[in-house]
């Protein structure tokens, strides 16, 4: 469970102080499907980065699965990212010189999983995301949809409790984007928490819970039950 209370994040732009997040309180249960929407600069990505432990709040508490993680050391936060959180980015962020299989393998390498087990898990992931015949291709040889599938396979290979997706369809056309979303929704159905940051209202409305952000504050928190 993700519990944020009084989270504030301030950026300094020259003399200006920008409250990217202004005393945000938020609770997300495990297994929820949440979309975060709002205009540019409303603090959507900052909120996602703080939930993903990529960024530290200037004040406020963050309790993840009953444990306060705000004050953890860099190394401990890295471990939590590795074990509990999977990231999916708008621009995929694949390592260009590594093959699809090697990109998917990276989190396993960082977690010191033995090579034999790595191969089995990567092969399973390749099959699950329909990438088996693309295993040895580099990102530059893959289509946008394939790249994002590799990225999702990489995000899920450690079986995280939450997938954080920042505009996952932003660089994809409508149809391919819909395919990627249905992949994420499948993960949600198998119990993974999904948090999506998006501009796209239609996409955002598919989530069972929608957060509207403006000027670093949560403006609205709507829920509707699964269809």
């Amino acid at each position: 469970m993700i519990q944020l209370s009084g989270i504030t994040r301030i950026f300094h732009m020259g003399d200006q102080r920008i409250n990217a997040l202004d005393h945000v309180d938020l609770k997300i249960q495990n297994g929820e499907y949440v979309s975060i929407m709002g205009p540019s600069g409303s603090g959507k990505s900052t909120l996602l980065n703080i939930i993903g432990l990529l960024d530290r709040p200037d004040s406020g508490d963050y309790v993840l699965d009953g444990k306060t993680v705000t004050d953890l050391s860099e190394a401990e936060q890295a471990r939590i990212r590795r074990e509990k959180i999977g990231f999916v980015f708008q621009s995929f962020h694949l390592v260009p010189r590594l093959t699809a299989a090697e990109n998917i393998e990276l989190p396993l390498i960082l977690s010191d999983i033995p090579p034999k087990e790595r191969i089995t898990r990567v092969n399973n992931a390749l099959r699950a995301f329909d990438l088996f015949d693309r295993a040895l291709h580099r990102p530059s040889e893959l289509s946008g949809g394939q790249r994002q599938r590799v990225a999702i396979a990489r995000a899920t290979i450690m079986k995280p409790t939450a997938i954080l997706a920042d505009e996952p369809t932003g660089n994809l056309d409508h149809q391919i984007g819909a395919e990627v979303i249905s992949l994420l929704e499948n993960l949600h159905e198998s119990g993974t928490t999904i948090i999506i940051v998006t501009h796209d209202r239609e996409l955002g409305n598919r989530a069972h819970r929608q957060l509207m952000l403006r000027d670093g504050k949560i403006l609205a928190d709507k829920r509707h039950d699964a269809d």
Partner: protein, 400 residues
């Protein structure tokens, strides 16, 4: 991340940035090769000089008249004295010392050698039969002052002289004229070429008594003494000084130079020179290190997004630092190895081009070159690696 994975991943990064990697490896290799080749030249020169010096004799001591003072003039000079000459009698006294294996008195002069309608000015050595073994010279034909002929008018010709004067016939047994006197050619020296700036192929050797009468003198130019063993050089030196002081009425007016001391001095000087040259070459390694730093900094910039991603998927700062370290290590290792091979190749070419120069790089220099390359490479990668490890993940990810 395990060590194997770190090494593997960093190696794949090196392969994918080929130009950059080749540049670094090339710079490192040049530095190491410079160390290897320059020290090979330095050490080769040292060995060349020492071989030359060793080849003039073994356990050699040279006695010369006059005292080499560290300051001031010859003490007797104010009283109108000149240093006493060395005489044949002195030489014979030295021959009786227990530390001395053999001795050769030496007179040197110039005289006209003529035979078979040819005439030329030659350098004349006057000595005894021991000169040949003491100076490590060899006779190609005949003998010099064989037993029972100590005072006879015989002459040994240098190889080139024998060839020039008697191109068609055996020189041994021919008669030649040296100055006013007639000599019988008793032997010919084997060709030896130049040694210590002295061409033994164009000299003649006659008995010392004949030389003294030819040059109308009773004094000797030098006495060459060979000690019985290396250990006895010092005691021989003292005994010689003592003996000649005694025979010169208590005046210590001679100088004894040991071949060993000269060798040691040359060895020290040339060794220092090799070290200096190695130091200069090592500067090029430092320059290579700075290039490594530069290129690694560019690499960190190029791969900012990748570093951000690694952080997002759970890499420690330590993992990222190690990745860049490992890259620098691979590059320096490759540079050092290639440089070492290039250096050995360069030394080999030098040895082929100048066979008299034994241009072998000393082991310490090769090891030091490789080690300095590795250390500079790793030191130079510290700043870029730390910069990469400290990158802010959010900012790094937002960079393209």
């Amino acid at each position: 991340m395990t060590l194997t994975d770190t090494l593997r991943l960093s190696f794949s990064a090196i392969l994918s940035y080929r130009t950059r990697s080749l540049l670094i490896v090339f710079a490192m290799a040049l530095g190491v090769a410079a160390v290897v080749v320059l020290t090979a030249i330095g050490d080769g020169a040292r060995n060349y000089v020492i071989n030359q010096f060793s080849s003039i004799g073994t356990n050699l001591l040279v006695v010369l008249p006059g005292r080499a003072e560290t300051s001031g003039a010859f003490p007797g000079a104010v009283l109108g004295q000149t240093p006493r000459d060395l005489t044949l009698k002195d030489a014979q006294l030295l021959g009786r010392l227990p530390q001395v294996r053999r001795y050769a008195p030496l007179n040197v002069g110039e005289a006209e050698l003529s035979a078979a309608n040819r005439l030329r000015e030659v350098t004349v050595l006057g000595s005894n039969a021991e000169l040949i073994p003491i100076r490590h010279m060899k006779l190609a034909q005949g003998s010099f002052l064989a037993h029972g002929s100590a005072y006879s008018a015989q002459i040994v010709l240098g190889a080139k002289l024998a060839q020039d004067f008697f191109p068609l016939s055996h020189a041994v047994g021919q008669r030649v004229r040296l100055g006013e006197n007639r000599f019988l050619v008793s032997g010919v020296l084997a060709p030896q070429g130049e040694s210590m700036g002295f061409n033994t192929d164009e000299i003649v050797i006659i008995p010392v008594e004949q030389a003294q009468s030819l040059f109308n003198t009773t004094s000797l130019f030098r006495i060459l003494v060979e000690a019985k063993s290396h250990n006895q050089i010092d005691s021989a030196k003292n005994a010689i000084l003592e003996t000649l002081k005694h025979s010169h009425d208590g005046e210590e007016d001679i100088t004894v130079i040991t071949q060993d001391a000269i060798l040691a001095t040359f060895d020290r000087i040339l060794h220092a020179l090799t070290l200096a040259v190695a130091g200069i070459a090592a500067i090029s390694l430092i320059v290579a290190g700075i290039l490594v730093m530069n290129v690694m900094l560019v690499a960190v910039n190029q791969r900012t997004a990748e570093i951000g991603l690694l952080k997002a998927i759970g890499a420690h700062a330590k993992d990222i630092r190690n990745l860049f370290f490992a890259e620098a290590l691979w590059l320096s290792l490759a540079g050092a190895m290639i440089g070492f091979l290039l250096g050995q190749l360069g030394s080999l070419i030098l040895r082929l081009a100048y066979p008299q120069l034994p241009a072998w790089a000393p082991v310490w220099a090769s090891l030091a070159g490789i080690l300095v390359a590795l250390i500079t490479g790793i030191l130079a990668s510290m700043l870029p690696a730390n910069k990469a490890a400290r990158l802010n993940a959010v900012e790094a990810l937002s960079k393209k």
